[in-house]
Amino acid sequence: MPAIKLVGILLAGIGTLAIYSFLYRENKFYRLFEHVFIGVGVGIGVIETTRRFLIPELLQPLYVKGLAGLAVSRVVPGMVSPFGVSGAFVSRIAQDAWQPAEFLWLVPAVIGSLYYTIYSRRYNWLARLVIGLGIGAAGGAAFEGIFTEMLPQIYSAFRPIVVFEMKTGGIDWGMSLINVIMTVSMICTMLYFIFTIDRKKIYLERAASTGRLLMMISFGAIFGATVTARMALVIERIQYLTGDWAQAVFYSFYQVFGW
């Protein structure tokens, strides 16, 4: 097993145990790995953003096609001319490199950088412009997209109370019951959230209470699903600790102590 992989597996296992040690009580071992975890997360985020976005999407176009191209075309004018000293080949490289439109990337870069003015008392209003711009763009996009997502949901909410079977023509009692439950649930739950009408009438109050009850049932299901999901996380860690990590520990002992 390569040493770097071995160290990685051992560290991952120790980190897991450190985080789980919090279940007993708060301790320094847990604190250390909590900070390591957050630090590693932020570090990877910064590196990935720089490598995947800042360099290829902003710095490279600005430098290669913008600044460098401009320098070549301005400093060595003879090279740009196809009849110049270096001939058509160099001329073509220089002309391809020099793309003034690439400088337009500076506009979003400058606007985005205004975010950092949030640290200045005097100029923090500039950050609000950027935040507003972001929220506006996201809101507009969401408004456009929400129709695609929500309209089919609204259509499917209108269901027949009595469903007939296609083959026999008789009533499909099971499906009809499901549709009735679904429709009643929807109406009652919506009634619970309508505060603009007076709910003095007993049937409205009862319907709203039923809506609340139905929501509690649904929240119970969501909570149960959450427990299942959290348990799955523990299971994966236990499999890791008893599998790869235990093997790595034994292997390390064997390598170091010979037993």
């Binding site: 969501i222 299942t228 994966e236």
Partner: protein
């Protein structure tokens, strides 16, 4: 401090029993009568660390005893299975896009689902494009297809297929276009004009060099999109933006937490299938084994068995906890 108190009470009882066993035995019938109530009251004040310990034991014991039960059949997972099986006959668009949008924190639930779907596509010779919108998943887009290829090639060899039909070929049967930065913008870009959004595969080779991507221009060229995610909003994003002219069929594999809200999209027909967390993935794996003969992932089956024991413990603790609460309230009222 409850643990110390409980252990202290046990030590006290033992010392009393050692000093005068007969007296303690005389008290036994009365103690046995009071025992259920006392036990429930004790459970009501049970230290949380004991519950953690019990949970750990419930999850470790099935693993150490090597218990493994077949998972239940999952109807929604089978819908996705049937959809992929029927793709070649139904439509000329048989390309599947699998977006691996999850990180290490949801690996336990979504790795089996990703593996199962990719295995199925590769085995059924439905070309599959793998990508991710999450930088933490880049490693998984390489590791999981490799694992799937091993399983598929083994299954084909076991089925007695000739060696030239066994191989899963990169660029023909599948491709990895890697991490796509920009979430919504990336989805919109792929949907409207894929070649301008993604120019190379994960290794930097131009997409036009691969037969699988030669005629792919936009979302209309995909027969199915499978979103595998543990993040809020990612499935909605694909639903909202991944389309051009023709409707694209979308399926979801999500964590158990997101399952209740995902049913609404399944009901409305926006998702053609749903892999509901680990049980969904295990059910899919079972279907693959029963129908196509692809061996199941042992890790998934074991995890499902562990989960069964863990959930049984949770149910028992919930029931006992509620009983303890009722008994405790009555005792308080009586006092």
């Amino acid at each position: 401090m409850t643990i110390r108190r409980d252990i202290g009470a046990l030590v006290d009882w033992w010392s009393r029993f050692r000093d005068d066993p007969r007296a303690e035995l005389r008290r036994l019938p009365g103690a046995l009568r009071r025992f259920p109530k006392a036990l429930l009251l004790w459970l009501g004040g049970l230290d949380r660390r004991i519950i953690y310990l019990l949970t750990a034991l419930a999850l470790i014991i099935p693993l150490s005893c090597e218990l493994m039960y077949a998972p239940p059949r999952m109807a929604q997972a089978e819908k996705l299975f049937d959809f992929i099986e029927g793709m070649k006959e139904r439509d000329e668009r048989s390309l599947v896009l699998v977006s691996v949008d999850w990180g290490p924190q949801t690996r336990s639930e979504l790795e089996p689902a990703t593996l199962a779907v990719i295995k199925h596509c590769m085995y059924s010779r439905v070309p599959v494009v793998v990508m991710t919108l999450v930088y933490a998943a880049q490693g998984f887009t390489v590791e999981i297809p490799r694992e799937a290829i091993d399983a598929v090639e083994k299954a084909r060899r076991d089925a007695g297929l000739p060696e030239d039909e066994v191989k899963v070929v990169y660029g023909r049967d599948w491709i990895n276009i890697g991490y796509q930065l920009g979430s919504v913008n990336a989805v919109r870009g792929i949907a409207s004009d894929l070649p301008s959004q993604v120019s190379t595969d994960v290794n930097g080779t131009p997409l036009s060099d691969f037969p699988i991507m030669r005629d792919v221009a936009n979302a209309d060229d995909f027969g199915l999109m499978v979103e595998i995610t543990g993040y809020v909003g990612f499935a909605n994003m694909w639903l909202q933006w991944f389309k051009k002219e023709k409707p694209v069929y979308i399926s979801l594999a999500c964590t158990s937490v997101s399952v209740p809200e995902s049913y609404a999209y399944l009901d409305s027909g926006q998702f053609v299938g749903l892999l509901e967390g680990m049980p969904g993935a295990a059910g899919y794996d079972r279907k693959l084994e029963e129908t196509l003969g692809i061996p199941h992932a042992e890790k998934t089956y074991r995890a499902m068995t562990q989960q069964m024991f863990g959930q049984a413990l949770v149910v028992i603790l919930v029931v006992l906890g509620n009983l303890a609460y009722v008994v405790g309230r009555r005792v308080k009222e009586a006092a």
